[in-house]
């Protein structure tokens, strides 16, 4: 698996190709979500919804061979695309890697201006929840 830094570089270069064309960028983000692992229906419940997002985002995580495996979904395609970017960078890594990850791709692709300030808050809430899961799994491992 490529490193966190390498995957972020990949994402940045993909967005660079799209340039300033906002419609294509959003379309691209929407498309990204459709490639995600399908989310288990049983986990589509209120307690798995991330607080602070305008649209609904479900996120769950479990430990698989010492690594954190996330699954997520959203009722909006753009948000689903955004989570898929985060999971592309952080999924199936050790809790330490996830907690230490510096997610600079968000700023490098100009996420704030793509999705606007209201959605940026939701995006920050997603990142926080991803790290919280990693922290919880890490504390379990250390018991």
């Amino acid at each position: 698996m490529n490193s966190i830094a390498e995957i972020q570089d990949e994402i940045v270069s993909e967005f660079e190709i799209l340039g300033d064309d906002k419609e294509s960028t959003i379309y691209f983000i929407m498309e990204l979500g459709s490639g995600m692992e399908s989310y288990p229906e049983a986990a589509r419940v209120e307690e798995n919804i991330i607080k602070g997002c305008q649209s609904k985002v479900w996120l769950i995580a479990e430990e698989q061979e010492g690594k954190v495996h996330y699954m997520a979904d959203s009722n909006t395609d753009i948000t689903k695309g955004l989570i898929s970017l985060l999971l592309r960078v952080l999924n199936d890594r050790t809790p330490e890697e996830i907690l230490d990850a510096k997610l600079d791709f968000v700023e490098r692709i100009g996420m704030g201006s793509i999705i606007g300030s209201q959605r940026s808050n939701g995006f920050a809430a997603m990142m926080k929840q991803i790290k919280l899961f990693a922290l919880a799994i890490q504390s379990n491992q250390n018991v």
């Binding site: 419609e23 959003i26 379309y27 649209s55 909006t76 395609d77 753009i78």
Partner: protein, 407 residues
């Protein structure tokens, strides 16, 4: 008559800009309208020349500011045809106007077991103040149901009316769907059982002729910023005898006649309800917005907007996957819709990428959305400066977006 749209547009500086490389198309007018240059000029003129506190200053600036401030009240009197200017109270907005009535009239005259009627179409600002009042007073909130097309079921309203009904608070035109309610019938029927009626005019006052004497409504609430005026300013109209019977809303300066530590007596209306230094600059500038509307004439404004709405319906109906929401025959210029298999947020963002500003979500009407079984809608709302060519661009944009999921 048809307007010279280019001339009207030239009066609105904000419209002349690009968004994401496209000319701005502003279709979020039900949220707030843009402001003509005259309103912006009135604001700067006030601060540059007349800034002063009103009603008590013994100097030229205070005198001017007071005169201009009261001129807006006079203009509003004519705008809604109230009997007198004293029946016009300035507030922060529609929300505060409704809260004022709930907190004063409601506290004094609504008691245990009394009933208040609202409708399924209400904005949260015409739901929550009444819920709070009902909770405090052990009164009962009754809701008029609606049809699938987004119209209240009048017969059901009549069934809710009884001698227990003390108040009816109803939206004149729905912000989410545009439906115009049969308010004259509602007011007459409510009065027949002795209930008072408040009209939420936030969405109607910019489109429809309003005559409070003819309507005979007891209260009317609306906001300046949806009438091409400044933000943070609203109006509450109330009939004199009712306003006089109500206790003050807030205590402070301006609203008193005489203050001593033993007893304070209150000022006459409207000042009784305008505690503290009011929003002087915005009140003064609001007159320029009203002058603008009066110059064009509500009748012609409505005709222009009706034409836009009809054209939008026609163009959008051609799009595969287009689902209109709210199809009442009588509507203000609001087009609420969804695209099959797509979330309104996604549609809204794609439109924004094309420079088209619309509203997406529940539009502060969650009970209405729940009734319609929707999470939200995309809402395009038209104003006097919008044109058919802009609607063509909306239809082209929506059509392209709809094809993502509706091939």
């Amino acid at each position: 008559m048809s307007f010279d749209i280019e001339k009207i547009r030239s009066l609105f500086p904000v419209l002349h800009q690009e968004v994401h490389g496209n000319p701005l198309i502003y279709f979020d007018n039900a949220a707030t309208t843009q402001k003509p240059q005259a309103v912006l000029d009135a604001l700067t003129t006030y601060y540059n020349h007349d800034n002063s506190n009103i009603h008590r200053g013994a100097h030229a600036l205070a005198d001017r500011a007071t005169r201009y401030f009261e001129e807006t009240r006079e203009t509003l009197k004519d705008f809604i045809n109230s009997k007198e200017a004293a029946e016009i109270i300035f507030t922060k907005g529609t929300t505060e106007s409704i809260n004022l009535v709930a907190a004063t009239f409601g506290r004094k005259f609504i008691g245990k077991g009394d009933e208040i009627i609202i409708s399924t179409l209400e904005h949260h600002s015409n739901i929550v103040p009444w819920q709070m009042l009902c909770e405090e007073k052990e009164a009962v909130l009754k809701i008029i149901p609606i049809t699938e097309s987004g119209e209240i079921i009048y017969e059901e309203f009549e069934k809710l009316l009884s001698s227990n009904t003390k108040f009816v608070s109803i939206v004149h035109a729905s912000n989410a769907l545009g439906t115009i309610n049969p308010v004259q019938k509602i007011i007459n029927a409510a009065h027949a059982v002795g209930a008072k009626v408040l009209l939420d005019g936030a969405q109607s006052t910019s489109h429809l002729e309003i005559d409070v004497q003819k309507l005979d409504c007891d209260f009317l609430a609306f906001s300046a910023h949806k009438l091409y005026g400044p933000t943070g300013l609203g109006v509450l109209y109330g009939k004199r005898e009712i306003l006089e019977s109500m206790p003050p809303f807030q205590g402070g300066g301006e609203m008193i006649k005489e203050v001593s530590f033993e007893k304070t007596t209150y000022n006459e209306i409207p000042f009784k309800f305008e505690a503290g230094t009011p929003n002087i600059a915005d009140v003064i500038a609001f007159k320029s917005a009203l002058d603008f509307i009066n110059l064009l004439g509500k009748k012609d404004i409505k005709a222009h907007e009706d034409e836009l709405l009809a054209y939008a319906n026609e163009r959008m109906s051609e799009i595969k996957g287009f689902i209109p929401v709210g199809t009442a025959p009588e509507k203000v210029s609001v087009l609420s819709f969804n695209i099959n298999e797509m979330h309104p947020y996604d549609v809204g963002m794609m439109l924004d990428a094309n420079g088209i500003a619309v509203r997406t979500g529940h539009h502060c009407t969650q009970p209405l959305m729940k009734r319609l079984g929707l999470e939200g809608t995309v809402r395009a709302s038209f104003a006097v400066y919008n044109s058919k060519s802009e609607i063509d661009k909306l239809a082209d944009g929506v059509s392209r977006i709809a094809r993502i999921k509706n091939k």
